[in-house]
């Protein structure tokens, strides 16, 4: 007797790069920027804020690989130092929303009822506002600066994580092992954070990678508008803003920091994709 099993035709997803390569390239890009950021004082050829009136608006050359800006500051050095701030933006800007959102989502999903309703209505209210508008208003109230940006990010960004985790919790809390844990008399805290959360969190980790891209771009946008990093500190968004007035006469001032933003964002995206596949999360 033979049983024939008809396996469904495999769904072929078109991908830009093979899975392995996605992971390697994504992680590679992040690693390069991380190393640059950590070793900025060593690898940057010049002081990023030193103004040299004699080499103003120089196009890329051997002495200044990325050229110089209108104050004679070396663009390459500024891009390298800028990596410190932009990576910091991407990490801190994701970390706090992640922690807040995960905690809120876990509690709301696990307890349900009034707690859940209250938190989810709050989420609805925050989602009702366009993301950037809400961010900009919070920063406008707190005053410009990176600190304000992080606070605004934490206040606005956590809602996505809360929703993701809550949905997972709703499914998991009726699973067999959860019921078993309850009947064994474990405390709620233990069940929530030791048993359920580790199984619910994969999706959030993957999401945090694409969120890092969004945070990075928001940070650059906010700085571009003059509400984030303050001059003379080098940050890519600020540099693009400073270079905008020279776009037809000195393209290199805005283009190199612009490319850096794109590359780093690309790195986060790739890593997010690869992690999603590794952890078996389907979007």
């Amino acid at each position: 007797m033979s049983v024939e099993t008809i396996s469904p035709a495999p769904i072929v997803r078109r991908r830009l790069l093979p899975r392995r390569l996605t992971l390697v390239v994504g992680a590679g890009i992040l690693l390069v920027f991380l190393v640059l950021a950590l070793t900025a004082p060593l690898v940057a050829p010049y002081d990023p804020i030193y103004q040299n009136a004699e080499v103003r608006l120089q196009p890329p050359s051997l002495a200044h690989l990325f050229g110089t800006d209108n104050f004679g500051r070396d663009i390459l050095s500024r891009v390298i130092w800028g990596a410190r701030i932009d990576l910091q933006i991407a990490v801190i800007g994701v970390l706090f929303p992640f922690l807040i959102g995960t905690t809120v989502g876990t509690v709301a999903g696990f307890f349900g009822g009034v707690v859940d309703a209250a938190f989810m209505r709050l989420v609805d209210i925050i989602l009702a506002f366009p993301f950037l508008v809400l961010m900009l208003s919070i920063i406008a109230i707190l005053g410009p600066g990176l600190g304000s940006f992080y606070i605004a990010m934490a206040l606005v960004g956590w809602v996505s994580y809360a929703r993701l985790i809550r949905a997972q919790m709703l499914v998991l809390k009726s699973s067999d092992y959860a019921v078993a844990a309850v009947s064994l008399g474990f405390s709620r805290t233990r069940i929530m954070f030791r048993h359920l959360l580790p199984n619910a969190i994969a999706g959030s980790i993957v999401f945090s990678m694409s969120d890092a891209t969004l945070v990075l771009l928001s940070g650059a946008a906010v700085s571009y508008l003059g509400l984030g990093v303050q001059p003379p500190l080098a940050e890519w968004g600020v540099m693009v803003a400073e270079g905008q007035s020279f776009i037809t006469t000195g393209w290199w001032i805005a283009v190199f920091p612009g490319l850096s933003i794109v590359t780093l964002a690309f790195g986060f995206s790739l890593l997010g994709d690869a992690l999603g596949e590794l952890l078996g999360v389907h979007e």
């Binding site: 103004q51 009136a53 508008l225 509400l227 001059p231 905008q244 776009i247 393209w251 612009g258």
Partner: protein, 504 residues
């Protein structure tokens, strides 16, 4: 979301290019690009160049400032005389018409002056409070009596905000409708005003110098992005553009199809110092700041050499400018020593800047580094432009760069504002010197030009000695036009002489 794409840099340029508006192609119509659109055509309700520069060619004034911006010449008043005691002015009004064809009389002129003095919405009433009465003694004669003698009075009659309006027109239309489409007597009339986009002007056939006007019309088009506006002129979509950024001058000069026009202006940029804040009240500290700032470097790096270093609050070329005024040399070591002698160490200042103002930001980055060399820390605080002004007025700053352009020929207006100790705390600096205050008041009443000039020279010396603020640089108006446009000119007070402009 557009801002996100702007981060990519070049995309901003592409977006700008695709967003350009459509342009009229009529032969005799001059299209001029500028940053912002007008806000009103009611002369008394604005103090902004964006309004004055446009309605100056729609309205006419009793007395005009000449093309060079140095003397007064007849406008709607063909002649005038002053009484011995300087209290009575008699103006002979010329035979002119409003754009609706009705005659312009001394009655209209009197009405206009009393309106700018008395109307609740007038931003200029203080300048005209000196008028006691203004009456039409006959249809061609305007008699003005002053409360006290005033040397700058004739100059204030040339202010565009005191333009002659039609009494009958204002009364029949009402101020709201009049501010949209005024009945005036200048070279052009408002044909259409598309808010936020453009002002369309037509030649006024009833203008008393109508034969002088060569253009059929003018369109003032707002193109906010500097790069886009310049590209539009380069591509021939605009005949001319104003507010050319300093950074673009060299490149535009290379274009054979364009003329880059640098006309002398009365713009003076200065660093405001809040004397009420701690050590800034000490004269030595302010002198140290003056010595620590390299004005030449600002002229080179920010204005790309277009400006000149300033040595007085009165702009170079303006009435009573004192060319030999003190110019403290750039000397960071000397500044350090001055600070040490004054017992001041670790001076930390809050430097307020306007977000999005390219020149202000560039100056700030430069000044910050210069001050650091003298051991002074400047923390930059970037805020929205309108908020920045509110904060300056409220005294919530240590230092901040601002600028002034003269509205009238006479130095009294600016001097009163900067040194006269009137209601604005001397341009929000909280500067106090009673000897200076008294001299400002005396100079206003002095009718002998020689004695008056000596007084203003003394004032410029005293202000510099006290470092009321730090004079940075003077800069010209920089405009660009296509080669086929001739006579596109702006006088030092900002008035465009479009009645003499030709488009070939």
């Amino acid at each position: 979301m557009i801002t996100k794409w702007k981060s990519v840099g070049l995309a901003a340029l592409l977006a700008g290019l695709t967003l350009t508006a459509s342009y009229a192609e009529a032969a005799g119509v001059l299209t001029i690009g500028r940053r912002e659109d007008s806000t009103t055509f009611d002369p008394i309700k604005t103090a902004q160049n964006i309004d004055n520069w446009v309605f100056s060619n729609v309205y006419d004034v009793l007395i005009r400032v000449d093309k060079a911006g140095t003397k007064l010449e007849p406008g709607l008043a063909e002649s005038w005389s002053t009484s011995e005691d300087g209290l009575t002015y008699v103006l002979k009004i010329r035979d002119a018409k409003f754009s609706d064809g009705s005659p312009l009389t001394a009655e209209d002129a009197a009405y206009s002056l009393l309106r700018v003095r008395d109307d609740a919405g007038s931003l200029w009433s203080d300048s005209y409070k000196v008028i006691d009465t203004a009456v039409a003694t006959d249809p061609r004669t305007l008699t003005i009596k002053l409360k006290n003698p005033s040397a700058p009075f004739l100059s204030t009659l040339a202010l565009p905000n005191a333009s002659v309006i039609s009494k009958a027109g204002m009364e029949s239309l009402g101020p709201e409708a009049y501010a949209e489409k005024p009945i005036a007597s200048g070279a052009f009339t408002v044909d259409e005003w598309r808010r936020g986009d453009r002002v369309i002007l037509n030649k006024n056939p009833n203008f008393w110098q109508a034969e002088r006007v060569k253009l059929d019309g003018v369109e003032w088009i707002s193109v906010p992005d500097d790069n886009t506006r310049m590209l539009n002129v380069q591509a021939g979509q605009l005949d001319a553009a104003i507010f050319v950024p300093f950074s673009r001058v060299a490149e535009l000069k290379k274009d054979a199809n364009l003329s880059v026009l640098t006309d002398p202006s009365t713009r003076e940029d200065h660093l405001l110092i809040n004397h009420a804040h701690g050590d800034l009240g000490k004269k030595e500290v302010r002198m140290a700041l003056d010595m620590a700032i390299d004005k030449k470097a600002i002229v080179d790096a920010v204005t790309f050499g277009a400006g000149t270093v300033a040595n007085s609050y009165i702009p170079k070329g303006a009435l009573y400018y004192y060319a030999d005024n003190l110019q403290r040399p750039y000397d960071p070591e000397g500044a350090k020593k001055l600070l040490a002698d004054a017992g001041v160490s670790n001076l930390t200042l809050n430097y307020l800047i306007r977000a999005g103002d390219e020149v202000d930001e560039q100056t700030a980055v430069l000044v910050q580094q210069q001050l650091a060399k003298a051991g002074i820390t400047a923390n930059l605080q970037k805020v929205d432009p309108s908020q920045e002004w509110d904060m300056v007025v409220a005294g919530e700053y240590d230092i901040s760069v601002n600028y002034w352009t003269n509205d009238i020929l006479d130095p009294d207006q600016k001097t009163t504002f900067v040194l006269g100790h009137d209601s604005n705390n001397n341009y929000s600096t909280n500067y106090k010197n009673d000897a200076v205050k008294d001299l400002v008041a005396k100079a206003r009443l002095e009718l002998d030009p020689k004695k008056r000039e000596a007084m203003y020279v003394e004032l410029q010396k005293m202000a510099k000695a006290d470092v009321n603020w730090i004079d940075l640089y003077y800069s010209p108006y920089i405009n660009v036009s296509r080669k086929n446009v001739e006579g596109f000119y702006q006088n030092p007070l900002g008035r465009f002489f479009l009645e003499d402009t030709v488009k070939n």
